[in-house]
Symmetry: D2
Subunit: 312 residues, 4 copies
């Protein structure tokens, strides 16, 4: 159960992508988001993840995002980049772009839209690995790609050096625990990074052996997540839990948007951006079509939660 | 129950995209596929659909496919083009490309990967419509996008001129029948095209009021599907059923690939391409990663079914 | 493609179970339902199906239902009885009761609640068959049991005499067509009964080779379904389609209940019972908990549809 | 975040139901299971849960199980009884039986097989509560009933006294954490019991604020789970994690059965029973149809894991 040096650990927020009202990337706001996160003490940045609206953006916009994040970070922490496309060849195109823009690792999902089984999924990750010298983290997000990455597959890919870690957004903590347990017993996997994507169970997953977390909500409260992580690492679980409880309440901002007229991504990304606008970090809470930005009433509800959490 | 002049009717195959072994588009083979389909008497062509491996191809390859299909068709039948991307902005990028390459209409799905509800889906189709003068057909394919387009939404979008038809690959014939029934009672929707994507129930769906079909298997046997369609249109349901039964048996080629090592798309697209290679229409049965081409034994099973169906 | 003598064919409505306001079975109303159906010319009766609220009823109530249906039918048509329980032993208990009450065949689903794979499903049907001399029809209803009965499994069970037919409520007409196609090519399966459970595609499924239908809506309009069936059998598909269209519109009664406060079964069974009460066949539109009966406004909407369909 | 006196806390195993080879309940073995669990120091017993094969058993067998468990326990710890049926009336029948046999509380799921929405689910739990003086725990097990109990619904039902706790087998630890967080902030809910059903994340869920656990695997190793629970309660999270890791490895016994010929319940219940037989607690590893018992090779694999875990 030793897990001494995972390659990627700590708090690695999936960076939101601020937009102007016309849908173009707001570079200045994005720079401020990166500074806000680095200022909070985060240990890495995940650009172009689901919270970064990656599948909404054109390739030009994606390149722009990576350019801003890499330059603003300036090597202070690792930058990992989502290369998220339905199938292999297009993912590799994005990996090439990520390479040329200077990221430290790529994050890839199972294929989506197309109908694949275990053999296709394995071939996908292996083909991407064969095409790049960059480390690859697997992004396990069945709610988006409708495929769950099994423990056995991940362990096999890890042993073969195909993936160096996983971002787990599967909601399946039983599977995550089994993965962590398998990995912890194999000295050859000592550097494997097991990152949880679930904002409200970071303390629990750290106790279970996670290397760190990739919480969308850390865009809003990076310092809180860093305090939580530090408490976990030092074994101060009582403090960790108190911090996690505060954060769990803050997570209610994802319920601010009217459920009768919004859904899933609109509610999550929309509320994170609205909070960042209220905090003065970004200029606008604009989101990509077909999402809509939170309106005035919804924004007021986000403000209330920020107040309760002591952030405004 | 009059449905006099749907804009798109008859047999509109989703054209496969032949590839060289190195993954590049095989233009010569694609030209031959188009000629094979036109020679079979089909009434339209659907380029860059799921059977056309659209989500596997780069934008450059997609442009190449549209270019070949439009030029080879040379106006003999309408060419409709899949513009299939996870979210609105990227779809509109593809619509722009399709416009410049001279297609007659675009085919679009609900958003995928991202988590959307009914409001986001409706906003998506409306935003695409607002961005183009080309007619838009909705592609209802929940098995890929994990959203079902409801009857009420489709009727609303049709009444507002946002969509001029639907390609139904939902497997939900109850819903399809209800849509056809609604449409047939509204004179303003007389030109709405209700196309079924299910190879083995074309006779049944034509009886139910479909305008036509978009059968992947028609790549292999276009003439058979045209005979089937003609029988339906002339009300000769007994003949239609016999033809459909023959075709239904031919559809067994999708079972040729070993189910222990292949899945979904590999089995479908892979078997269509293998059949076309056996028929001498295309040079190679190569498919995009992470699919794999059918091997020798699997190819032999496809050959057996072609023989049984009287195609070789 | 000969299918000369399926054991069970024609219109076989899943008989609703009228209840008193206190939840007890209303025997007199049930007798009138049976007479209403027989008077409409139906070819069989399916007691204790999903529309018969079978999983809501106690064993005593179920016995009462079978007793009334068998006695009132008095051998005029076959009575088949749902024996629907989560696992094998409990199903066999219900089969014993059905045997003693004089039904002609039993209808059984895959196991539910418990998590089963193909081997468990096959063992289940075989064990039930081994326990009774009554013919067994498989009820394919994945929306309730969350398992789809595959074509291969059904054909294997049919060849081994384990099942004599299927009631298909899977919504998967592609699979249904493939089953019918397989069965029609095997002379040993000439008596296999392929019954569709989907109210609005009976004409289409009859064209595809169905033996008959099990439409919940036939409780409301048995004569209409019998006319539809007769037209199909005589090859008069144009007449069939017109009758089906009328019925498809009538099916809108399942939309009468407020979607904000009702769901699935409440909307279906609730509207059928409300229609039967409006037609004077049953005394009350009471349904089992946790469903609720349709209220006055909802009932008015059912009445409107009955009027449009020419039933009141 | 005080949660002083949940009504049901600690380790509450879902008691397996030993069977003779002929399928009848093995009373003597069941007595020994109860003694084995009490000897391990468990804090309660959950009879007739999923691991107890409740949906496979006849009502007579279920009564027998409750009789043996209640009598053998003799008041040393609370006995809670699963009353698991598809709909309300049948659940209440089981509640009546449980009352007469002397259990301390009942455990009920959302309706299953039938199609229900939130209103039906809420009405279901309320109607059961209205019918009994026994406390009711909600069993959240979407993998079986295909409905997830939402945080808001559970909090509402808790505030109204309809449920006194939840057994969470949803696999959705995010939702579980949100529930615990809500409950912990409402002094009126101080006695609410939040029990996790997931064997391998008990330490994590206890850190997150769970009251206790209902682990199927505790049938095999009750003392291990009690040590784990005690470590959690005393805040010794390092010890808790070590114990949890050992148990997580032991959980591999559910992988002992051949995945090509077994599924879900067979693998779980089958391996627990096989382990108990190997430990000499029960006479036979027989399971209910349509499951099959583990064979010799599979049993050897269970034995290996018991050895690794230091249990034999």
């Amino acid at each position: 159960m030793n897990h001494p040096t995972p390659s990627y650990s700590g708090v690695v927020p999936p960076v939101v992508t601020p937009l102007h009202e016309d849908g173009s990337v707001d570079r200045a706001s994005l720079e401020r988001v990166v500074e806000h996160l680095l200022g909070g003490g985060v240990h890495g940045l995940f650009a172009l993840g689901s919270s970064g609206e990656t599948v909404y953006l054109t390739d030009e916009q994606r390149d722009e995002v990576l350019d801003v994040v890499v330059k603003t970070t300036a090597g202070q922490v690792p930058v990992i980049a989502g290369c998220i496309e339905p199938a292999t060849q297009r993912v590799i195109q994005r990996v090439r772009a990520a390479e040329s823009l200077g990221v430290d690792a790529v994050v890839t999902t199972a294929p989506f839209y197309t109908l694949v089984g275990p053999h296709e999924v394995e071939r996908h990750f292996r083909a991407i690995h064969a095409a790049t010298a960059l480390p690859q983290l697997a992004y396990d997000i069945p709610v988006c790609v409708h495929v769950k990455l099994g423990v056995d597959l991940l362990v096999t890919l890890a042993r073969d050096g195909v993936v160096v870690g996983v971002k787990d957004s599967s909601g399946d903590d039983v599977s995550f625990r089994q993965l962590v347990s398998e990995v912890s017993q194999d000295p050859a996997l000592a550097t494997f990074s097991a990152l949880t994507g679930h904002e409200v169970v970071v303390d629990a997953m750290m106790l279970a052996g996670a290397s760190g977390s990739v919480p969308g909500l850390a865009n809003v409260d990076p310092a809180g997540y860093v305090r939580l992580h530090d408490a976990c690492v030092s074994g101060d679980w009582a403090t960790a839990r108190v911090e996690q409880e505060r954060i769990t309440r803050l997570f209610r901002i994802v319920g601010a948007a009217d459920p009768a007229t919004t859904f899933g991504s609109t509610r999550g990304v929309g509320s994170f951006k609205t909070a960042l606008a209220l905090l003065g970090v970004i200029d606008s809470n604009a989101v990509s079509l077909p999402m809509r930005p939170l309106d005035q009433d919804e924004t007021a509800r986000v403000h209330d939660q920020l107040e309760l959490a002591g952030l405004v």
